[in-house]
Symmetry: C2
Subunit: 337 residues, 2 copies
């Protein structure tokens, strides 16, 4: 009887997010409750728009990192729940504002909020969630955590502006791309991981180790996302294939394909990235990316960052939480396959 | 020789903002320097957009209130400078996002930022300023002040959403209007005034008195602004006449005119506010508002709020700062004449 693995055990092995969610079940239930409560407003449209986004199938990886890191360190207080909710609110606010910035017609598998309610509503409800994020941080009571998260929020905005500037610019370098994803994505992962040792009053080395874990995980996450935008090897959930291509975003796969491009391929990228493209061009783009090994190379780089994230955890005593955080880093890359 | 008033003395009498600016010169210079520094970013577009807005002839009334209230209370630290800059950043972020929300083609006498750079840039630079505002609050080091300002930011967003919902709705009541301006405008004035006694470690009564001062001043300010949108008695600086009318905003002048409307006038408001209007309708609207005394009544209500603001200051010992804050409340209304 015992030779067959139980369904839960199978689930644990295939999806470390599910395993981590189970491990941190009580904390994440508290985070969920707090998120639901703090989305509340006497203005009904606000929870309506906010819950459309917050409930829309996000995996809550960022707050999960905050909560798991706090537990890994043996933190016994409740501040990590408020900070985890704050991290998710910042992320949700960013998504709402991205809907206005980008032109995608799919977000977490649904029409983006600005297409349902309008740009004004997306901007304002994003602002509301952003403000509520800071109220949650006040509740957590750590000025140092507040500094880390407000700084991350400023860096995210900088990264998004840089991304806008790099749009349709095939001269975008690998370094520029890495700086952009470091700011727009990895900064919040880094902050999400870093606030827990701060809250737990741990040493600077511990804070730095978890910051590295978060940042490297965030970089891996975004690299995989950018590979999956071209179909990668797996299909992305809840997003369109080819959104980046349609928006003229020069992500690492394109940078790498450009490095190895023939004259003809370069002409193709110049024309299609700078704006003059048809839907059929997406198939050509994917074919070139595969031919040049650009998707594999992007995923290889993602694996490198995931490995660095795992290594950063080695300074901590092993326990179920550190193990789960370590497999989370692997999972972020493995979901591509 | 001495019988002629000096130019500065004339200026002082006609413009209490100028007088207050002179009184708080050193503090406001420090606020300006800090604003300039914290607008900085390695991403050049950010200070470019931010300074377009922040330098664009705003009177900096809100940070002036923070600084003057701190000095009135004999506060000797430097935290008020950081909080004043934070207040101005929140205000600027709100203006940038309002550009996306509204459809005005004039902001502080210039084309709004979103028409110069685009909606995406206005949203993201607004987010950046918002995040930097919270970093400034961290510098000031008061968790209570952080709570007040983050709460105000959430309330502003709620007010803006409510205003959107009330747009083109002639059933908007006086109470609904007062709640909207209480949230979208007066909440930040209240917070700007309230953070200083918090920073100075004053009693709850003092905090409440300055909160009242700020809120009532903010209400007076918005009422006057809404009267001036119809030309009022004076001309608005740097804004178009009739913006609210064109956007179908039901402000107090319209609410009051509707209360006293003939059947024909009501038809006019129903048609013109709900969307079907020509430029010539603005002249008709102004004529009706004057005929019904709606602008005078709006300004009378503003005077009442200014008076309440002045009364709130009476619990404090008189000094040049309390006098200046008191005349500021008068000025906010008098600028209409």
């Amino acid at each position: 009887m015992n030779s067959l693995p139980q369904p839960n055990a199978i689930l644990d092995r295939v999806d470390p997010v599910a395993r981590l969610m189970k491990l941190a079940r009580d904390d994440m239930a508290a985070v969920d409750a707090l998120i639901g409560e703090r989305m509340g407003s006497p203005v009904p449209l606000i929870p309506e728009v906010a819950s459309y986004l917050v409930d829309a199938g996000g995996k809550r990886i960022r707050p999960l990192i905050t909560v798991a890191a706090a537990r890994m360190l043996g933190y016994e207080g409740q501040g990590h729940v408020a900070l985890a909710a704050a991290v998710e609110f910042i992320h949700s606010a960013t998504l709402l504002h991205d809907d206005v910035v980008d032109e995608s017609d799919l977000r977490r598998g649904k029409a983006p909020a600005n297409q349902v309610w309008g740009n004004a509503q997306s901007v304002l409800v994003g602002d509301f969630l952003f403000a509520r994020a800071f109220m949650l941080m006040v509740d957590a009571g750590s000025m140092d955590a507040l500094h880390v998260l407000s700084r991350a929020a400023a860096i995210i905005a900088e990264g998004e502006v840089r991304q806008l500037e790099a749009q349709r610019d095939i001269a975008t370098t690998r370094d520029a791309y890495m700086e952009i994803i470091g700011a727009k994505t990895a900064a919040l992962f880094a902050a999400a991981a870093q606030v827990s040792p701060i809250l737990a009053g741990r040493s600077k080395d511990d804070v730095r180790a978890l910051e590295t874990y978060g940042r490297e995980l965030g970089l891996a996450f975004q690299l995989v996302d950018d590979a999956l935008d071209y179909g990668g090897l797996a299909k992305r959930l809840g997003k369109n294939i080819g959104d980046d291509f349609r928006e003229g975003k020069v992500t690492l796969p394109v940078v790498l394909a450009l490095d190895a491009a023939t004259a003809e391929e370069r002409d193709f990228w110049e024309r299609s990235i700078s704006g003059d493209r048809t839907e059929a061009d997406l198939d050509t783009a994917i074919a070139i990316l595969k031919r040049r090994g650009a998707l594999d190379a992007t995923l290889a780089q993602a694996r490198g960052h995931a490995k660095t994230a795992q290594d950063a955890l080695k300074v901590f005593d092993r326990n179920p939480y550190s193990d789960a955080l370590s497999s989370l880093a692997e999972f972020v890359v493995e979901r591509a396959y």
